[in-house]
Symmetry: C2
Subunit: 147 residues, 2 copies
DNA sequence: TCTTACATAGTAATCTTTATAATTAGTGTA
DNA sequence: TACACTAATTATAAAGATTACTATGTAAGA
């Protein structure tokens, strides 16, 4: 299941002339198998046991490479660290203001807004970004308990 | 014109028990009169002449206060500094990938997507954020000249 | 005017990310 | 398989943005 995506990703990297290393493989695996949206530090810590000598820079370098190849999407929310999402298919994100959890949801891609924005501003539009913010079910439950 | 918005903002701050200081007033004025989307450092530099002793921390402190009162919206784009937008009315932003310019544009508020996201994920939705990215007219002109 | 709590300045510290240089290790080719 | 070339990694320093902290200053109400 996940291995199919992983194979595809590895092949995609090879086609871009990117070499495979154990660290790179591990970071990629982590992104594919974990359905979370980890920060660079999350990944670093998660792999610390297997690669005690791995540098944080390696994580960042690889995330940059994955981004360039289009395997991974970087998301930045305000002050916190960037989060990285392995791109499977088009989807939007909803983010919990309380615990920071990120959940995917599907919605038809908003092509129209890009056309409208282009017409109004004269920009040549490349892409858009849409996120919804709120409180996730478990944080809602906690909050209603407290009060 | 701008002073009406400024007065309203000052009143709103007073109602929240926030004291008015010359620095605070100046930062607020800058945000209201400049229609740009400045970074904390932009503001700091712009007011350096009038307040040679002002601390960067003061700028950040005030921006935080303004945000808490809802006068200002913070926007963070990837790696760069946060930008701050004085909230006048609902609008979306389009951002130039080349020079970083931010332009406002109007589009009907996407209420539906909040409802859909809520239904799909169980989140209690608070707000959403939508941005369009591309190349602004002047950067387009420069790029076509070069090639 | 006096008082008090909030705001500011100045600086140190933190956190995330990038840059740099030296070493290590993939990968294609002989 | 061994070699050579070049990319990748490590380790560390550095940059940049933001926050924390403390002493001092000041706005605003009694």
């Amino acid at each position: 299941m996940g291995s199919e995506m992983l194979d595809h990703a590895v092949q995609s990297l090879r086609e871009h002339g990117v070499r495979m290393t154990p660290q790179r493989q591990a970071i990629l695996e982590y992104l594919v198998t974990e359905h979370s949206h980890p920060t660079a530090d999350d990944i670093y810590k998660a792999l610390a046991a297997r690669f005690p000598n791995m540098s944080v820079a390696t994580v960042y370098n690889n995330l940059r490479v994955f981004k360039e190849v289009g395997l991974v999407q970087e998301m930045n929310y305000g002050d916190a660290s960037s989060r990285f999402d392995f791109v499977t298919s088009k989807h939007y994100h909803i983010i919990c203001d309380t615990c920071g959890k990120v959940v995917d949801f599907n919605y038809p891609v908003l092509d129209e807004i890009e056309a409208v924005a282009s017409q109004l501003t004269g920009f040549k539009v490349d892409r858009h970004r849409l996120e919804v913010y709120g409180t996730c079910p478990s944080c809602q439950a906690e909050q209603s308990q407290t009060h």
